[in-house]
Symmetry: D2
Subunit: 402 residues, 4 copies
């Protein structure tokens, strides 16, 4: 089999997660760093024939006037990833990726994100169909220019205000027609990117809480076009811990009376989430893990607050009040101090490899077995991280033996 060349197309390609993923990928290829933090580099996935890092080409859409190199330098200053010297070694390659980045769309992203958009992004009201076509032209040009066998489109853009999935028509035929209407169709940008990708038969990954491909009509499109999609909202910190700890309380028959989680951080994602509408998407995504695992609904509180001085360092404090035998209340508290983009970036790279592999193996529609990567995995019943991880291992065994 000839080696495949695979594209990774990032929506939000100059943001912190994207800049970290791109820089990290370059550092990996150059041997400046090892495979730590990458799930797909662990032994169970060694024989799957995942795409090699050197066979990846990266491009993307971005709405801001930003410099990828500067984004990477800012991340380096905040997070301490790589040394200044090693980052300098990645510069030429970063500039090469930057040349593959095209202006995105702000259609239906809401006012908070819209005001981040640079002059290069057309602010006039376009028809949704026009936008989709333009996005597809960008993807097709990327494929042609780099002679790619496939492109995985990954959304790592800022979180949009919530759009309930049922606002969109249930069937693809109806949704497709809606895109042609001159009047605003309400389909958020994240879904337009998804449609653009899936309609071309390309896999799509929604790493954010935005709607993306989470509507039945879009899943239908994916299946029609013979491709796959997965989401949503990468599970990197507090929610990961919830999905790990809640099963422990459940298996010990301990009653969780209340679970309070306060998250503070100061990157651009935090700035966008500081807008109440955008924050709603995120909080909803973080808050369903418990009832699913415990079988009842404890009192929960989830806050996400923008604290500028923290930059990319997401700090979460969780207070879990529980009781067991004879009813005495007890307490567990944790604090998590993680550098958000450094936790997210390797998962983005993993998802490209695993999604591409599933597509190659003939999967269709949403990919259940990737649930452990997401806060709100499409159509998956369990919130238990270890059950979700077992699904990944099982899929991997299945693919490996084929």
């Amino acid at each position: 089999m000839a080696r495949k060349r695979i594209g990774l197309w990032l929506i939000g390609a100059k943001g912190a997660v994207a800049a970290t993923a791109i820089t990290g990928w370059i550092a990996l290829k150059k041997g400046l760093v090892g495979p730590r933090g990458l799930v797909s580099e662990m032994p169970p996935f060694a024989d799957l024939g995942l795409v090699a890092w050197k066979d990846l080409v990266i491009g993307g859409h971005e709405i801001r006037d930003a410099s990828l190199v500067e984004s990477a330098e800012a991340m380096q200053a905040t997070s301490g990833m790589l040394s200044t010297r090693d980052l300098a070694r990645c510069r030429t390659e970063l500039l090469k990726v930057e040349r593959n980045i095209r202006p995105g769309t702000v259609l239906n992203v809401g006012p908070t994100i819209e005001q981040l958009a640079g002059a290069g992004v057309r602010r006039r009201r376009e028809k949704a169909r026009t936008v989709v076509r333009r996005l597809q032209d960008d993807l097709k040009a990327f494929i042609d220019q780099h002679r790619l066998d496939n492109v995985v489109v990954v959304n790592v853009a800022s979180t949009e205000p919530p759009t309930e999935a049922d606002v969109l028509p249930a069937r693809w035929s109806a949704l497709s027609k809606a895109l042609d209407r001159a009047t605003p169709c309400g389909v958020p940008a994240s879904s337009l990117y998804a449609i653009a990708a899936l309609d071309l038969g390309l896999p799509y990954v929604n790493f954010t809480p935005s709607l993306g491909s989470a509507a039945p009509a879009i899943d239908e499109l994916a299946r029609q076009r013979g491709t796959v999609h997965v989401g949503r909202d990468g599970k990197t910190g507090e929610t990961l811990l919830k999905s790990v700890l809640a099963p422990m309380f459940a298996h010990r028959n301990l009653e969780v009376m209340s679970w309070v989680g306060h998250n503070i951080f100061g990157n651009m994602d935090g700035q966008v989430l500081d807008s109440p509408a955008n924050k709603r998407s995120k909080v909803a995504s973080k808050d369903q893990v418990l009832s699913q695992t415990l079988g009842y609904q404890p009192q929960t509180l989830v806050s996400i607050e923008y604290v500028e001085s923290l930059g990319d360092w997401k700090t979460a404090w969780d207070h879990i009040h529980f009781r067991g035998f004879l009813g005495t209340p007890m307490t567990m508290q944790f604090t998590w101090q993680g550098c958000d983009s450094l936790l997210a970036a390797p998962l983005v790279l993993d998802l490209v490899r695993l999604t591409e592999r599933a597509h190659r193996a003939g999967s269709l529609g949403s990919l259940d077995f990737l649930a452990s990567f997401f806060k709100s995995p499409y159509g998956v019943e369990t919130s238990d991280f270890f059950e979700q991880f077992a699904m990944l291992i099982k899929w991997s065994s299945g693919v490996a033996t084929r």
Copy 2:
């Protein structure tokens, strides 16, 4: 099938864990409390035909001059378990159990525990064989008096100083002879209780870090007598969390650089552990979880300190220093504030039911499937709580379908 009457024989029957387990069992029978905190009361175990609470009879050995009622009242004052009124309702039954408690042995328990012993416990040097016979006489009298079908012996006594398993002869035949020697044989009390029970064909559970039945020769005895045993060291707090969190770091390919755990508490267990020799047993038991799960040995520190004011409230602070993609160090910290005896007591009751059931089902020797209850499960390779719990569920399905 006629209803079975099952005995629970507690070694350390007036200590905090025993007093809590006994009080809780009485409260359960009286309907004063529900089944929260009891693993064996959860749906997966509903059809196993576990012994009913009302069919249990409790007795035990104790070396201290103490009052069970007073122990229960002290626990109530410290932990707030039950109301004063409900505790008063349990008084008559507590006195009934107290009449089933016999003086234990202090042979080879080490000086710290020895000085806790009351006048009722013979301090003269007996031969090990004599001690075992006396313990067996107590067990046989208990069985006769209450016409019991089986008795599960559970060690919840104070932690002895470490006795390495290889100090004991590897074969039962040799160990049995050593018990007959007039000179001190070095077999710790916890093992004498185990031998007494297993030699009578009774199941034995080691809920402490003491040696108990953890020697090959004693496992051989259990198999010869057609019975079962399991241990050691009930997993109730910090180590439970280690066995839950370490797999998360492993599955995300995050490198744990260091894991520091400081435990403070002030009950009698704490007092005994304040003695360096006794503490060594405990720390060893708590510190092996990580390397087993992670596949490498991070720097670890485990301290257990006696802080009188905390009473039964075991407080643990853990600091986990880890790094992933691109090497930036990150931190998770947790504090656990649990009432130790309230966490341990229901597990003791669960283990009686599950061990008795396995014995009834024809198991032999040490019971792997109960690994999730222990810090250092005999002969089990995995330290991953969820893998261990899956073993329990699998056993349960197997038994249920028989």
Copy 3:
């Protein structure tokens, strides 16, 4: 000098703080507990001639249909204060105090508090003047019945929504006229109680964030009537710590970049504060300490959330992000797990003694030297707890030498 008999009149006399203060006072008089937690019992105040506990008589206003004995029992169950037996010993005296409790007013308390009011509280719209007269009649009857030399009125009722001080007329003459108007005057209940007390020449203490006597017109009234007042918002937990820690950062020239404080608790105070309007009063009161001490405004976040399972246990997590020499960010976090009413009640008793003593010594108007007891002390510039405490010591020396 004949011994003085002093009254303590509690607004919110059956709430958690009041029930705790009353029960504690009875226990103190009976010698069931010692003086721990009482500032006024420390050596610097030994020679001030403060009123003896046995010379106090307690009564108050309350709007809810509640039982003082039941409130005390509920507090005992939640907080573990006293033993069940000792509480029973206080019962007769509690019932005696209960007979001194009269229905309060809900005029301008806002809807959240209004719906807590019992049938005994007149819900029809009265003129403010009528309300004040009725409150004064209750106070006068209390004085007469118990032949009291003085009465200190202390507000420990639920927090009202904010009323800006400048909404009220600046002069007492104008405010007094407003009380006579038939149309609603907007003066909140907390201020009506203050007016009722001060107009009778009685000292008034505002232990809550409600307006109370914090308006210039009411201070004028106090001075005219030759009496004293002080407030507001007892400093018992997180804010106490802010006023202790912020000076440390200031004195070491460390820059506090952000200070986030999340408070969770589940008592009635918490329920009332769950209403956004009422919460605003509290958050404003908690948030000014830092800028005053540091000399600049770091980014701050203060949340107060109702978490039912916590009851009276107020848990605060504070995250302080600071930097010093060469600019590297560092972090201090603390969690405070305090039983709110147990921390507040002794301060209420202290304030009665100290306020009465200042009144006796001829002070007039607001009492600066009590600033260390309050989150937002009237007219005091410093938020530094230790500077505030030095003011108390200095006053004490002055009074003692007179």
Copy 4:
């Protein structure tokens, strides 16, 4: 008055604290950083005529074969102080300081420190007197070469094992004779440096828990030579917080039942403290703050553990168990994550300025007013940080008005 040129002579001149202080001083002079973190730069000290940064010259003693530039680069990598670029700008000046660094002595430093010494340090057993003379020759050469008006000698070397002060003769005459003996005199290196400095009339600051000038005989020497000294053990983290929080508990009449403090960190200081003998010095220094402030001795635990991955990031967890009115136990916990050298370095620079100023103003012997900088201030009764800080302010006013 002609501008004074003042020397700072660091014992341990290439260690982390020294490298940070030197780099920071260069950055200050170059205007690369502001005065944050420097106490002496705050308004109360503006008019004292403290030595200007540009009038300082730095040199010192060091026992290790190390490079100051590399030490500074290592600190930059660990702590993120300055940017790589700004550090590069300091390089020339760092090399200039490095030329002023002379080999120190390892006489009586104990085996842990001794094995750190480089080839340049004479390991043969010298007479103490010979060592002192050599150290003095270095100081005199430094003064001559840079035409200095004064030199402040500051000990920032690794912590020696404890030498009880009473091991040394009580009088300087006797101690002086002991230095001449051929047999080992037991006077630790830290004291030899102190003697060398004070005997030349130079001020001496002991920033470590080592003995230094803490013996009466050495204080006598200082007074005889008309100079000043101060120590010991810079108060930068956990103990600073103890000295801030303990007064709060005292002033609220809250009983501290237990105070547990666990410290973890991984720099060279930590490595040396990992040796039990050296650790004893430190723990003793950290553990006396509480009883002094509270007036009674709560149960305390202080641990310091070496955790390599933390580098210079000292993390402390403190658990404070207290009770107040009616006896219910409550809890405060804090975690402190500070970069140790960045907290210590500015205090070193402050102490040089303040000590030199006191010397200039005619002070003699140990300097009480600097107590707020130290864990165990020589001869000062109060452990209350705010009382100590008030002493500094008072001294400052006295000097300013002269």
